[in-house]
């Protein structure tokens, strides 16, 4: 029997998807023109699905900081944080993130995925419990599985369901860690953090929030949902990524629990991988500084968000549960999502397409994520492309 036999069903599904949705799976950004424009299939298009919320991947000062680090420190660290891979930039960024989140300790990881994998797999072990929102990212699920804890899901953003489970599970007398996200990546809605923090206190559980999509996006100072909801102190662990608002690559965990430092020895995903490159760290540091000192970027992002949401809503499209820079346009029929996605690209707009089973409710949707770098003209062009696509769909 072939070692690949177990992939047969997946391969068949993949072939079917490629046949039907091949154009989507084969997208290559052939040339990057700006943080909001690229060339795809030889054609200049507006990027409206990149998670580049503040447009900092192409910010001049971030690029210059990365270039300097590249020249001064080289292309890679060639080692683990535990060995030769901790440079002064890693340590400085950890201090800056601790100050940003008002936490005593921060650990920087190589990716956001790696941060969740490392933290969750180390914090919750056999006999302990993780209660996670059903819409949590795969990195949270994978971290829990790796640690060997008992994993329970609660219905997405359903605080009553969370409490019902907490009540039952607290009878076991073991540690319970609740995991939620600041902004859920698919539907763009916030965790009900204030209520969850209250319940967490009531049952003596720990609370982890992944601010991957909310760092730089939510809160008066860009400090995510913990700032916006005013429950900063009740959150035990904040994780996140550098690959969205910060326009770089890497991840982190910040906490006031000094024992978090033990992860530097106890966490295999931290120990057994090369540390983030000097250029990535330098770009992330500069971008964090911009988030702190340029609130105007956040305002532009939200102005763009309200503007596009209003236009798409007026078209009668089915949108997400909240108005945030992640705007999902929902379709019951995956074929309709694909035909709309194709028409959008023909009309010069790229968005993400999300198909079941990756979608939370089995529907298909086109996911727009906005950027402070989008111009008013680009926002209008995105709305017009949706309008044209919808009109073309109605003709068929």
């Amino acid at each position: 029997m072939s070692i690949f036999k177990k992939f047969q069903r997946l391969e068949e599904s993949g072939k079917k998807l490629k046949k039907e949705f091949g154009a989507f799976f084969n997208v290559v950004l052939e040339e990057i023109i700006s943080s909001t424009e690229a060339v795809i299939n030889g054609k200049r298009v507006i990027l409206a699905g990149t998670n580049n919320y503040l447009g900092l991947s192409m910010d001049d000062s971030c690029i210059e900081a990365a270039c300097q680090a590249l020249r001064n420190e080289g292309t890679g660290t060639t080692g683990s944080r535990m060995a030769n891979g901790t440079f002064s930039g890693h340590v400085k960024l950890e201090k800056e993130l601790s100050s940003f989140w008002n936490r005593s300790h921060t650990i920087v990881f190589t990716t956001g995925y790696g941060a969740n994998l490392a933290v969750l797999s180390s914090l919750a072990g056999p006999g302990e419990i993780v209660l996670l929102d059903s819409d949590c990212h795969a990195s949270i699920y994978d971290g829990c599985r790796m640690g060997g804890a008992d994993i329970f899901r609660f219905r997405h953003n359903d605080v009553k369901d969370l409490e019902k489970r907490l009540k039952r599970l607290s009878e076991r007398g073991t540690n319970i860690l609740i995991a939620v996200e600041g902004l859920y990546s698919m539907l763009g809605d916030r965790a009900k953090l204030e209520e969850i923090a209250e319940i967490k206190q009531k049952y003596g559980a720990y609370l982890l929030i992944d601010e991957a999509h909310s760092l730089g996006v939510l809160g008066d100072n860009g400090r995510g949902l913990v700032e916006e909801s005013g429950v900063n102190e009740q959150v035990d662990f904040i994780t996140g990524t550098f690959s969205k608002s910060l326009g770089s690559v890497g991840g982190f965990c910040s906490s006031n629990h000094p024992e978090i430092e033990t992860l530097r020895y106890a966490s295999r995903p931290y120990v057994f991988t090369a540390s983030p490159s000097p250029a990535n760290i330098a770009a992330a540091r500069k971008a964090l500084d911009i988030i702190i000192h340029r609130p105007d970027l956040r305002k532009r992002l939200w102005d763009n968000t309200y503007s596009l949401h209003e236009r798409l809503s007026a078209l009668g499209l089915s949108l997400g549960p909240e108005i945030t820079p992640i705007i999902p346009v929902r379709y019951q029929d995956p074929d309709e999502a694909l035909s709309t996605w194709t028409r959008l690209l023909e009309n010069g707009v790229y968005v993400n397409m999300v198909l079941p089973p990756a979608t939370p409710d089995g529907s298909a949707f086109l996911r727009c994520s906005l950027s402070a770098a989008h111009t008013a003209r680009q926002i209008e062009a995105i709305a017009e492309a949706f309008e044209k696509a919808a009109a073309a769909g109605n003709l068929h």
Binding site: R9, S134, R145, D150, I151, F152, R153, R155, R165, R168, L169, P356, P357, G362
Partner: protein, 84 residues
């Protein structure tokens, strides 16, 4: 309509069959040895739905870790019985 006549008169088994019947084409045969993925094409999303419905039905909390131990209907019956 789908349960094998020889199967035990078991509340957990029948509850599982009832939930599965809502997810598969009519007249699909479901028995203890039915492979959830192979025979019924139950994917990860549907698996989560099944667990949620069983939690409501039996007023229990099911760790999703059990899914790694479940291939057939019989496996699922056994896992649920351990939690009741």
């Amino acid at each position: 309509m789908n349960a094998d006549q020889n199967l035990p008169d078991d509340k957990v088994f029948h509850s599982i069959v009832k939930i599965l019947e809502e997810m598969v084409p009519p007249e699909t045969e479901i028995g203890l040895n039915t492979d959830l993925g192979g025979d019924l094409s139950i994917d990860s999303l549907k698996s989560m739905e099944i667990l949620a419905k069983l939690e409501d039905e039996f007023d229990i909390t099911i760790p999703i870790n059990v899914l790694s131990e479940v291939r057939t209907v019989e496996d699922l019956v056994r896992q649920i019985k351990e939690l009741i």
